[in-house]
């Protein structure tokens, strides 16, 4: 109950930022909220289904590049047209990559997803036609002005939260948890678990695509670095810091990391060590992440 109230307060606070019109906070919190969406989508895989994927950044990047392509080559800008196309692109990539990677399990799954991420990264990085290592601009952006973009991101966050909440409370969500706990049992009970995992993978990939779309729309710039395994690793870290297996955990994690990155640097030049130490401490002492602290007080 307290948790729900806190989340509503947080949502309203984020909404209020939109009315300040301050360009720094609009972009800063906009980026943070995109991080929330990205991390929540990954948590559907990591925290609920038990699939540790390093391909997540790929869907973020594909959708972002699609927006750049649509805007620059076809003059398609309006979110009504571009959003569905970009999401469909991310979903399609997720179907292909998911279908292939899900044949492997455990560590092998992690590594196959890593392979696909790296392949895409190099594909975009080495091809001048796709912008090469310098990336591409999104010449015309779907949302006019920062405030509009901000509210779009805010709405997306709220919708994604609501949709994921619904999915997780539907029979499908319970089945995912069952698969994480004991896939063999779920299979012998008659669940076609490969199909469930693939659907989860595609949902997560599509939502990651939404995050990528918003990111490209907010900044108007896409770069192959968005594909790399470092990005995938970063979002994994976000999920774990916040607390996997909850929806509010990744939100906490994304907000925390955004602030730590922003202020940590002013605190010490060795701020990467600071993040390293933070990660190690959380893994060792807070296996349930920050959300674990909230639960403890509940």
């Amino acid at each position: 109950m307290i948790r729900r109230a806190l989340l509503v307060v947080l949502a309203l606070a984020l909404l209020a930022v939109g009315f300040t019109g301050d360009r720094f906070w609009l972009q800063f919190m906009g980026k943070a909220m995109i991080g929330c969406i990205f991390a929540m989508s990954l948590d559907l895989l990591v925290g609920y289904t038990g699939l540790v994927s390093l391909a997540h950044a790929a869907f973020f990047g594909i959708s972002a590049y699609l927006l750049a392509g649509l805007s620059n080559h076809y003059g398609l800008v309006s979110p009504v047209a571009t959003l569905p196309i970009c999401l469909a692109g991310a979903a399609f990539a997720a179907v292909v990559i998911g279908w292939l990677s899900l044949r492997a399990t455990g560590v092998y799954f992690i590594m196959v997803t890593l392979a696909f991420t790296q392949m895409l990264y190099y594909l975009f990085n080495d091809a001048p036609g796709l912008g090469g290592s310098d990336g591409l601009y999104v010449n015309e952006r779907p949302f006019s002005g920062r405030t509009t973009a901000y509210f779009a991101i805010w709405s997306a966050l709220v919708i994604v939260y609501a949709v994921l909440l619904r999915v997780l409370h539907a029979p499908f969500g319970h089945a995912l948890v069952g698969i994480r706990v004991n896939e063999q049992r779920m299979r012998s009970l008659g669940f076609p678990t490969p199909r469930y995992k693939l659907v989860a993978f595609v949902i997560a990939g599509t939502l990651a695509g939404l995050a990528g779309y918003l990111d490209a729309a907010l900044y108007g710039f896409v770069n192959p670095a968005e594909f790399g395994w470092r990005q995938s690793g970063l979002v994994l870290m976000t999920v774990l810091l916040g607390g996997k297996g909850t929806l509010h955990g990744p939100i906490l994690g994304a907000l925390l990391l955004t602030f730590v990155e922003h202020y940590g640097e002013q605190f010490t030049v060795h701020w990467n060590a600071l993040i390293g130490a933070l990660v190690i401490a959380v893994v060792l002492f807070l296996p349930r992440g920050l959300a674990g602290l909230v639960h403890a007080r509940d």
Binding site: V107, Y108, M111, M119, Y122, L123, W229, G276, V279
Partner: protein
């Protein structure tokens, strides 16, 4: 491509694979027996290379660097295992990935603080500072031949240790069934500590041997790390033999990828890995 050039490229690929094997062998041992995905393995490689640079700059001898550096790195490995890794054996892969990723960040800062950000060259031992002609136009430095030989020697030594010694038997047993080893009354904690130190020392040794060839620079561990993961996974986790063939495959496909499909060369290695895993989901040896 002429036949002699083809032969030369095969040699290049094998040579690249051998060094990769040295790094990957430690990774696959730790991976197979301890069940820990160690992202910090690349950092040990990097620290090894920096130690080689630092000690050999001071003493003028790469051999001295190896003799001093290996015990130092093995102790570091022991400490890391005791303080951090040992708490992870019962945890999921995600925790392991993240904890060791945290270690990577820490070690990178350590390197910055101790050695700075510059690129350094390390000289090969004077004894090996000559070149061997290779075909009509190209030569190979003797040191390159030496490292290749050293990698083969280490591989042979590892094979002997694993097949013929009591420690090796325990390692093999641990790789197939850790609970069984415990049931047999072997102190798993000690076994794991020893193995992790050995893995760390192997990575550091690879870094030291490679230092004269690659030069020493910040971030050098990460490139090697990702490739070693590819090798380990292609080979099948825990299998030294698999890692050997995986390393050869990666070395050769990277070499020929660069020559034949330069635009897609980087993606090549990953495509090979994906292809292997789609046919054999648990690697070549799995």
């Amino acid at each position: 491509m002429s036949f002699s050039l083809f032969g030369l490229q095969v040699l290049n690929g094998v040579e690249q694979g051998l060094l990769l094997f040295l790094v990957a062998s430690g990774l696959t041992l730790v991976f197979g027996v301890l069940g820990v995905l160690n992202f910090a393995h690349g950092s040990f490689y990097m620290l090894g290379a920096y130690l080689a640079f630092w000690i050999s700059a001071g003493t003028g001898s790469l051999l001295a660097a190896v003799l001093i550096g290996i015990p130092v790195m093995a102790s570091l490995g022991f400490l890391v295992e005791r303080l951090a890794i040992a708490r992870l054996y019962k945890r999921d892969h995600l925790s392991q990935v993240l904890l060791t990723y945290g270690l990577v960040l820490l070690f990178n800062e350590l390197q910055r603080a101790l050695f700075g950000n510059d690129v350094h060259g390390v000289d090969a031992p004077r004894l090996l500072a000559f070149r061997i002609p290779l075909g009509s136009a190209q030569e190979w430095p003797a040191y390159r031949v030496f490292t290749a030989a050293a990698c083969i020697a280490v591989a042979a030594l590892m094979r002997q240790v694993i097949l013929k010694t009591r420690f090796g038997m325990r390692v093999r047993a641990g790789a197939s069934n850790a609970e069984m080893v415990e049931a047999l009354g072997i102190d798993v904690r000690k076994l794991f500590s020893a193995l992790f130190s050995a893995g760390t020392a192997l990575a550091a040794l690879a870094g030291m041997l490679a230092a004269p060839l690659t030069t020493v620079y910040p971030g050098m561990g990460e490139n090697v790390l990702v490739l070693s993961f590819v090798v380990v996974v292609i080979g099948g986790i825990g299998s030294i033999k698999g890692a050997f063939f995986g390393a050869m495959l990666v070395g050769l496909s990277d070499t020929f990828g660069k020559v034949l499909l330069p635009g897609l060369a980087s993606a090549m290695v990953y495509a090979v890995m994906a292809a292997v895993l789609l046919v054999r989901p648990r690697g070549l040896a799995g």
